[in-house]
Amino acid sequence: MALGSLVFTILVVIIGYRYYAKRVDRDIIQADPKRATPATMYNDGVDFMPASGSVLFGYQFKSIAALGPIVGPITAIQFGWLPSIAWLVIGVFFIGWVQDYASAMLAMRNDGMTMGGLSYKLISPRARSLLLSFMYIYLLLIMGAFGALIAPLLAKPIVPVGFLILILSGILAGQMTYRWKQDLLLTTVVTVGIALFGIWLGTTQGSQNIVNAINGLAGDPETGVLFSRPLGYGDMTWANFFWAIVMLAFCYLGSVLPIWRFAQPVNYTSFWFVFLGIVGSMVGVVVATFTGAVNTSFEIPAYVTAFQPHLGPIWPLLFVTISCGAISGWHSLVSTSGTARQLEKETDALPVGGGAMYTEAVLGVLSVVFAATIGVAAGKYDPAQGYKLVAGAGGVFAVGMAKFMSVLGIPESLGGAIGMVFLVVMALTVMQLVLRFMRVASAELLGDKVPAFKSPHVGSLVAVLLTLFLITFGFWQWIWALFGGSNQLFAGMSLLLISIWLARENKPTNWSFVPGMFMYITTVAALLYVSVYNAIWKGIINAGPEAGVGFILGNLITAAFGLYMVVAAIVLFMDGVKAFNQAKGGVATAPAGD
C-alpha cells in the first residue's frame, strides 16, 4: 500500500506534467527560449543572474520544502488517508504547479518584479500596502506554527545534544570556508561527520541524563508543568518553554549575525541530513515493501470522518491543514523574489517551478505513508478517539523515518534522532529567513516613526517575543489552521494576480482564475470557522462562567488574527476582481506614473 501510493502519485505527477502543464506552457503562456529573461537582460551578478535549470530546480525545491508537506498531511490524515492523498494529488495537478510556475512567468514577463510591485502595478497602490501587512502576519504565523511544533521536539532527551553539535559544526563550516579557505569537500566531510557523531552522542544515556537534568530545573517536580495555557489547551512544561527560548535564540542569532557567519553554513550542514533523510526514507519504503521488514499496509482507514471535533469540518479545514504539497502561497514568494530573477530561459520555468512543486507533492504523500503505516502502532493516533492525533505531528514523521531507515541497517534510536533533528533544522532554516524578513519589514514600516526599529536587534527581538507569545499561549493545531489559512489565501491572491496579468495579455484565464477562486472561498471559510465559530462563538460568547480573563483574551487575539486576514483578503479580492474585469474589457489599470 505504501509503495502503491507513492507510485500512483508519481504516475499522476508524470501525466500532469506531460499532458497538462506542458500544454499550458506551450499553447497559453507560449514560453519562448529565445526571449530575453530578466536574468539575462539585467544581469548584475547579484540579484539578477542566470543559472542553469538543474541548479534552480534544486534551489527552488529546497526553498519551498519545509515542514508544510510533512506536518500538514500528518495532521490531516485524521480525516482518513484517502482525502489527504486525494487533495495532495488533485491540488498539485490543478492548482499547485499552476501557481508556482505561473508566478515565476508573471515576474519574468514583468522585469523581475516581486509580489509587492506586481500587486501595485496590476491591482492598486492599496493592494501593495495590504499585501505587505498581510505578509507580516502570515510570516509571524509561520514562526508560531513552526515554533510550537519544534519546541516539544527539542525538549526530547535525545535531540538537544545532537542539535547543538550540529549548530556548532555549522559554525565551523563557515569558519573553514570563509576564514581558513578550506576545500568545500573537506569542510563537508568534517562538519557533517561531526554533526552525525553529535546526533549519535545525543542518543547515549549520559547525554540524555544531562538534558533530563535541564528539563527538571523548574516547573512542577512531578509533571514538569510550568503554567496552564490560558486558552485551556493543556499545560506548558518547563522543558517546552526552555527549549522554545533556546530555539528562538538561534533564530535571533540567524537574524542579526552576518549570514556567512551563522545562518548560511548552519543551513548548509543541515541540508545534508535533510537530503539523506528523504532519500533514505524513500529507499526504505521500497525495500520494506519487498522484504516485509516493516509494516507497509495502512492502519488508518481510507475515510475516517467528515468532521473531526478538534479540527473541524473536512471542508474547508482539510484544504488549509494540507498546504505545501498541494499548494502554498510561500512558493509564489520564492518563485517571484528568487527564481524568476535567475531563470536563463523561459522554457526552464516549467521544470523548475512546476517540477519542484510536483516533487513536493510526492514528499507530502511520503508523510501520509509514514502516518498511515506506523502512526497507530506507535501510539500517535488513537482509534478509540476516532484516530485523533494524540502526539506531536513531528514525532510521527521522525518515528516513520526511523522505522523505514532501519531496514537499511540504521539503528532505530539513531534514525529517530536523525528524524527529529531533520525536522528541527528544516523548520529553523525557514524561521531564520522569516525572522530576518520581519526585522527588515519592521524597520521599513515603523523605522521612521519609531527610530528604535531601525536597530536589527530591536526588530528581531520584537518578532521573537511575538513568536514566543504565540508558542506559549496558542494551541498549535489552531495556529497551524491560521497559518494554513493565511498561506493558502496568499496562494489565492497570487492566482488572482496571475489571472489579471493573463487577462491583460488576452490569454485564457480559467486555468488560474478558477483555482484561485476555489482557494479564496475555501480559505476565507476556514479562517472564519477558526476565528468566528471557534474563537468568538465557542471561546468568548459561550465560554461559560469558569473561563478566565486569559482564556477570553487568547480567543480575542485568535479572532483578531483571523478576521484581519479575512478583511484584508476581501478588500484585495474586490480590488483584484475590479482590475480583472477591467483587464478583460481591455482597460489597463496601471497606477498613475506607471
Binding site: Y42, N43, D44, G45, V46, D47, M49, A51, S52, S54, V55, L56, F57, G58, Y59, Q60, F61, K62, S63, T114, M115, G116, G117, R128, L132, M135, L184, I259, W260, Q264, P265, N267, Y268, F271, W272, F275, L333, V334, T336, S337, G338, R341, L433, R436, F437, V440, A441, E444
Partner: protein
C-alpha cells in the same frame, strides 16, 4: 542507443544530478557571497565616484585615475541603485 549516445546520456544525467545537489546545498551560499560582494562594490563606487552623486569623498584627481576601472560597473551599479525595491526583496 549507440555506445557514444549512452555515454553522452550518462554524462548529462551525472551533470544534472550534480547541479541539482549543488542547487539544494550551495546555490544560496553562492548568492549570498555575491550579494556581500555587491554591497562592497556599492560602497567602493560611492567612495571613489561620490562626485557623481554630489558626495565628493575622494579628491577628483584620484576619482579620475580610478574611473577607467569603475566604468564597466557603472551601468549595473546604477540599475541596482535605482531599481524599485520592496519588502519582498528581503526574501530573495
Amino acid at each position: 542507443m549507440t555506445e557514444e549516445e549512452k555515454r553522452s546520456f550518462l554524462e548529462k544525467a551525472r551533470q544534472a544530478i550534480g547541479d541539482f545537489i549543488y542547487g539544494m546545498a550551495s546555490h544560496e551560499s553562492t548568492r549570498q557571497a555575491l550579494k556581500t560582494r555587491g554591497s562592497m562594490e556599492h560602497l567602493f563606487i560611492l567612495i571613489t565616484m561620490g562626485d557623481l552623486l554630489g558626495v565628493p569623498i575622494l579628491p577628483p584627481y584620484y576619482s579620475l585615475r580610478l574611473l577607467p576601472y569603475v566604468v564597466p560597473q557603472i551601468a549595473t551599479w546604477k540599475r541596482r541603485m535605482l531599481r524599485e525595491k520592496d519588502l519582498a526583496d528581503a526574501l530573495a
